[in-house]
């Protein structure tokens, strides 16, 4: 038999096709790409770096086999997509809404991500989620807390964690409870930065204060990353309210506490809208000056006593980052699990199918690391069953003091 050139070519083509076939088939399902936009440089770069570790911890648990009562922990990858592994692509938005817009577009069109998570700063979430909406790619806020975000009629917007109205309501519930116990709390001083996070937070607090009969002695809006806060602190001091309620990122939080010390201002108590007041860097810098500070949170390590999984996951995260899970990193971790769970149920990387699967999410609280009732999104994409907690910083760590069902200690009031 003679072998013609044609036969050789044919044979080679056939072999090549056979070799490539499984590859091509695998390429469709072997990898699910999720985009993350965070501040990886600029004033809040450390937040982005910590967020990376939190997301990587979640992806480790999904992609490898773990014995945890968390969706997708058992077995490797996403079973709904034939064991496909999740790959993360991080994009740096530098805390700038315009850069966030550009990076979201790049993630979707160049990196072909099937979902986007982010963004820490609420102001950036506004633009990123608009881009996702346009490309019909689901966006989930991991750690944005501005209530206006889910009220823009976006179909592809989701948030599993509480927003600042829920957080603020929890704070006022706590203040009410303290008042019933006979503590004198009449006036409040609001101190908030000038982007959407601070203004939304103070709007929610102003409304609640009016409804529940607290006097707002001062409502001070300051410019984020100011070189000096002495004029602001002076006004707080002049107002001399019973409770100081700051909504500040880490940098301003540190400067606020230092300036308060320098100008001799000491409120009875501080009840903070987390952000900077959840960060290790804040307590490293001024922890000794804020013994007894209270901050809202969506996470509490105290939960580890009831739910051992929380401790295990915290250890995994700590091995990567050198830090305990906090308000931000816990929400980031959980958001990744919820998104992966939806993609798994969608059995597809198609934006619309994932969106529908997200909308149908019903995850009991016990299967999360959060003190939440469950994860179920309303028609605006907000999970209203994410119950916040209040934490008090005592002796170098946080203890849960409110609400009653989650509390492990009595609040110390006034703070030291």
């Amino acid at each position: 038999m003679t072998i013609t050139r044609r036969d050789v070519l044919l044979g080679a083509t056939a072999t090549a096709t056979a070799a490539l076939m499984p590859l091509a088939a695998r390429a469709q399902t072997s990898e699910v790409v999720i985009g993350l936009t965070y501040p990886l440089s600029g004033a809040n770069a450390q937040i982005g770096v910590d967020a990376q570790r939190a997301f990587e911890t979640a992806v480790d648990i999904i992609n490898k086999d773990f014995e945890l009562d968390l969706p997708l922990a058992k077995g490797e990858g996403l079973p709904g997509l034939g064991g496909a592994k999740i790959r993360l692509v991080f994009a740096d938005h530098q805390g700038d809404p315009q850069k966030g817009r550009a990076e979201a577009e790049r993630l979707i069109t160049q990196e072909k991500v099937c979902a986007v998570l982010g963004t820490y700063q609420s102001a950036v979430a506004v633009t990123v989620s608009q881009i996702c909406e346009r490309y019909q790619i689901p966006f989930m806020s991991a750690d944005n807390s501005s209530p206006s975000l889910h009220r823009r009629g976006l179909k592809y917007y989701f948030r599993a964690s509480p927003h600042d109205e829920m957080f603020s309501a929890a704070m006022f519930d706590f203040l009410d409870a303290m008042k019933r116990k006979g503590t004198k709390i009449e006036s409040l001083a609001l101190f908030h930065e000038d982007t959407i996070f601070g203004t939304d937070s103070s709007n929610a607090q102003l409304k609640l204060a009016a409804e529940r009969g607290y006097k707002v002695a001062a409502d001070i809006k300051y410019r984020a990353n100011s070189p000096s806060l002495s004029a602001e602190v002076q006004q707080l001091k002049a107002a001399n309210a019973d409770v100081l309620m700051p909504s500040s990122y880490t940098t301003d939080g540190i400067l606020l506490i230092k300036t308060m010390g320098e100008l001799g201002y000491k409120p009875n108590s501080i009840v903070a809208q987390a952000a900077g007041f959840s960060e290790k860097a804040f307590y490293d810098a001024v922890g000794d000056k804020v013994e007894g500070v209270i901050t809202r949170g969506s996470f509490s390590l105290d939960l580890a006593a009831k739910r051992p999984m929380v401790g295990k996951i915290n250890d995994m995260f700590k091995a990567k980052s050198g830090k305990d899970l906090n308000d931000n990193t816990s929400r980031e971790f959980m958001t990744m699990i919820i998104m992966a769970d939806a993609i798994n149920r969608a059995k597809s990387t198609d934006g619309e199918k994932i969106r529908d699967a997200l909308a149908a999410t019903e995850m009991p609280g016990e299967q999360t690391i959060m003190p939440w009732k469950r994860v179920k999104f309303d028609e605006m994409g907000q999970n209203n069953d994410a119950d916040p907690v209040l934490l008090q910083y005592v002796g170098g760590k946080f203890v849960t003091i409110s609400p009653a069902q989650a509390a492990v200690a009595e609040p110390i009031w006034p703070m030291k």
Partner: protein
């Protein structure tokens, strides 16, 4: 608004203003000497703050003691930056101004990036220091010690600088080079040496302010940005190139910032600074003490 609040505001503004002046003077010095605006000025401040922090963290040296060390280190750093980068940027035949801007602007980005890479973007603080958190209180007016000492150092530095520029040979060489770089070569003054020393001196002054700032401010790779912006306004207000304009400009900026916050919401306090700046640009474009 009580008298006490007003006095407190003015006092805080004055103390901050003296510091702003000290931060800005290096910029004014370098510009006056060779018409180069150092866009990495804020990053020089950042490096000085990190140097202070690391001396504190590893060797437990109080910022007050490390201030001269940091200033000396920054002197060497500034001189090297001139000899290795700016000197070459100034040789550009076409568009020299642009080349200088891009050279120092690029330097700023590189320094910021390197700081983030090497020091991580985490916020650092000098947690315990002799001055940190201490306050002098006179009749209900609080004067934080770090800022108070900073103001005194600033006044001393400006006094020293005045003496240096007017009474020493090098100071005269500096002035002469600034007047006419071509002519000084004829009388045997090495232009490059004078420029390098000018950069060193400018950086050393930023180093001094960085060491003091480290006591009461947080430290991270981008910390220079907001202070650099104020430094540019200060220098432009005081008069580009005028060292003592920077001193006066700093005080004006500090006082205007503090008094604006008394009448306007604090989030608008920088509006006052820029309004005064605009006014100066309209009425006296060369700045308060500018001699161009």
């Amino acid at each position: 608004m009580t008298t006490e609040t007003i006095i407190q505001s003015l006092a805080s503004g004055l103390l901050m203003g003296l510091l702003y002046g000290l931060i800005a003077v290096g910029l004014a010095l370098i510009f006056g000497l060779m018409d180069v605006v150092n866009f990495a000025h804020g990053e020089f401040l950042m490096i000085a703050m990190y140097a202070t922090f690391f001396l504190f963290a590893f060797f437990a040296i109080d910022p007050l003691l490390s201030a001269p060390l940091v200033a000396a280190a920054l002197f060497v750093f500034g001189a090297l930056i001139y000899l290795l980068i700016v000197r070459f940027a100034m040789r550009a035949k076409a568009n020299a101004g642009m080349v200088q801007i891009f050279a120092t602007f690029g330097l700023a980005i590189v320094m910021r990036g390197l700081a983030q890479l090497l020091f991580t973007p985490d916020y650092r603080s000098v947690t315990h220091s002799w001055l940190g958190g201490k306050t002098v209180s006179i009749a209900g007016i609080f004067l934080p010690e770090p800022q108070l000492v900073g103001a005194l150092v600033s006044i001393a530095a400006f006094a020293g600088l005045y003496f240096f520029i007017n009474r020493t040979d090098f100071g005269r060489a500096l002035e002469a080079t600034r007047e006419d770089p071509g002519a000084v070569a004829l009388v045997g003054i090495d232009k490059n040496r004078v420029f390098a020393l000018g950069w060193g001196l400018g950086a050393a002054l930023v180093g001094l302010s960085g060491a003091i700032m480290a006591v009461f401010f947080y430290i991270y790779p981008d910390v220079g940005a907001s202070f650099a912006l104020i430094a540019y306004v200060t220098v432009a207000l005081g008069g580009f190139g005028s060292v003592f304009g920077a001193f006066a400009g700093g005080i004006v900026v500090g006082l205007v910032e503090a008094t604006t916050a008394l009448v306007l919401p604090p989030s608008l306090k920088s509006v006052g600074i820029y309004a005064v700046y605009l006014l100066v640009v309209f009425i006296r474009p060369r700045g308060l003490f500018g001699s161009m």
